[in-house]
Amino acid sequence: MIEFQDLQKAFGEKPVLQGFSLKVRDAETMVIIGYSGSGKSVALKHIVGLLHPDVGDVIVDGQAVSTLDRDGLTLLRQGVGYVFQFAALFDSMTVADNLALGLRRRGLDEAEIEERVQEALALVDLSGTGERMPAELSGGMRKRVGIARAIALRPRYILYDEPTTGLDPVTSAVIDRLMVRTREHLGVTGVVVTHDMRSAYTVGDRIAMLYEGRVRQVGSVAEIQQTEDPVVRQFIEGRAE
C-alpha cells in the first residue's frame, strides 16, 4: 500500500503540495487528476524518493520513504516501475538495452534478461524493435518502450506520469489498453497521473483530484463522474468557466 501523509513541498517561495494525503490500496489503479502545474508529478516523485518532502511523508509497504538510507531506497525502487512523461529512454542505448539495464541491476543472468526483454516488448506489441535506437521511434512507441521497461522488472507498483500526454487519440487508447492489460496480466498496484479524463475513466479504479496542493475529492470513477463539487465538475467537463 502507498500512503501520502500530509505531504508538503515547495520550490523556493512557491508551495506546490500543501498537505496532500491519499491512500492507494493494493492491486488498485489510482488516478490522480489535476491542472497542469498542480503538483501531480511532484507527488509521484516522492513515492520513489526522487524528491524529499518538506513536511509529511509517503509510506510504502509500511516504510517512510524520506527516512530510508540509500540501500533502503535501492530496495524500494527495485519493487517500483516508473513510466516517465516523455519516456526518459536512454538515448545512447538500444531499446533492448534500455529494458535490460534495470534487470542487470537486479542480478539476473543474461538468458533470463533476454527472455524478460522479449516478453515485455511482446506485451506492448513492439516485438522486433529491440535493436532499434530510441531516436528511431515515434512518440507513441517511445511511451510503450517506457512501459515495457517498467513491466520487465515485474514490479509491485507501477507509476505512470502523464502516459497519454502529447499522443493522438488512437495512440492514447492503445496506451490506455496497455495499462489495463498490464494490471490484469501482472496484478500490480498502479498510480497514474494525468489530466486526460478519457484515460482516467478507462484505467482508473478510483480517481483523486489534486487541487491547490491537496486532495479535493477522491472516489470511484462513477462517483467522480457524478460529482457535484463545482471545481471537480469544471475540470472533468473541461469547461473554461
Partner: protein, 253 residues
C-alpha cells in the same frame, strides 16, 4: 550593496558545500564497484583515446614555436643547444599539461556537461535512479576516474610530440644537430620534471571531469540550460586549471 555582498557570500558558501557534498557522495559510491568498473573502461576510451588527436595537434605546433622562439631569444648570447633545454623543460613542466588541459576542458568538460545536462533535463537521470542505480556510481565515478587516469597518458604523449617537433624544427630550421638538441634536453633534466607534469595533468583531469559532472547534473531548464552548463563547465575548468597550475608550482617547485 551590503545585501548583495551578503547574498553572494552565502551563495558562494552554499556552492562550496554542494561541491563537498557531491564529492562525499562520490566517495561513498566507490563501494559500488560492480557498476562503475566496466563503465570506466568505456570512459577511458572516450576521454583518453578520443582526445589524443586534439592534444597532439596542439603539442606539435607548440614544439615548433617553442624551438623557434628559443632560438630567436638566445640570439647568439646563449649556446643554441639550450633550445633543447627550453623545449624539454617547458613542454614537461608547463605547456604540455596546461595547453592540453585547456584544450580538453573544452572538448571533454563541455561535452560531459552537455551530455549529463541533457540526461538531467530529459529525466534520464531520474530514470536511472528509479532503476535502482546511483548516478554517482553509474555516471560520475567512471568519468572522473577515467579523466584522472587518462589525462596523464594524453599529456605524456603530448609532451613527447612537442619535444619531437621541437627537435625536428631545430634540425631543419635552426641547423642544430640531434646531438646538440639531446645535450640541451639532458642538461637540467631531473625525473621530477616528468612526474610533476603528470601529477599536474592528473589533477587537471580530475578537476575537468568533476566540474563537467557537477555542472551537468545541476542543469535546469531545456536546451538553453544545457548550453549554459556546457559554457559554464569550460569557464570553471579553465579557471581552476590555471589556479591549480599556480598551486602546484608553489607547493612542489
Amino acid at each position: 550593496m551590503i545585501q548583495a555582498i551578503g547574498r553572494r557570500s552565502i551563495s558562494a558558501v552554499e556552492a562550496v558545500g554542494r561541491v563537498g557534498h557531491f564529492v562525499m557522495d562520490m566517495v561513498r559510491a566507490l563501494a559500488d564497484i560492480g557498476v562503475w568498473a566496466r563503465l570506466t573502461i568505456v570512459q577511458m576510451r572516450r576521454i583518453g583515446v578520443d582526445s589524443l588527436p586534439v592534444a597532439l595537434f596542439i603539442a606539435a605546433f607548440t614544439g615548433v614555436v617553442l624551438a623557434l622562439q628559443a632560438s630567436y631569444t638566445f640570439t647568439g648570447a646563449v649556446p643554441l643547444y639550450f633550445v633543447g633545454t627550453l623545449v624539454g623543460k617547458t613542454m614537461m613542466l608547463e605547456l604540455g599539461p596546461v595547453l592540453a588541459g585547456l584544450a580538453l576542458a573544452g572538448r571533454v568538460g563541455a561535452s560531459m556537461a552537455a551530455e549529463l545536462g541533457t540526461m538531467k533535463v530529459t529525466e534520464q537521470v531520474d530514470a536511472l535512479e528509479t532503476l535502482a542505480y546511483d548516478p554517482q556510481s553509474y555516471l560520475v565515478i567512471p568519468r572522473v576516474l577515467a579523466g584522472t587516469l587518462m589525462f596523464p597518458v594524453v599529456v605524456a604523449f603530448a609532451i613527447a610530440t612537442g619535444i619531437i617537433t621541437g627537435w625536428l624544427t631545430s634540425l631543419v630550421l635552426l641547423d642544430l644537430s640531434t646531438q646538440d638538441f639531446i645535450k640541451g634536453l639532458k642538461l637540467f633534466y631531473v625525473f621530477k620534471d616528468v612526474w610533476f607534469g603528470l601529477l599536474k595533468s592528473a589533477s587537471f583531469g580530475f578537476t575537468i571531469t568533476l566540474v563537467g559532472c557537477i555542472v551537468g547534473l545541476g542543469t535546469r531548464g531545456g536546451a538553453e540550460g544545457v548550453g549554459r552548463s556546457a559554457t559554464r563547465a569550460v569557464v570553471y575548468s579553465a579557471i581552476l586549471i590555471l589556479v591549480l597550475d599556480a598551486f602546484w608550482a608553489v607547493v612542489l617547485l
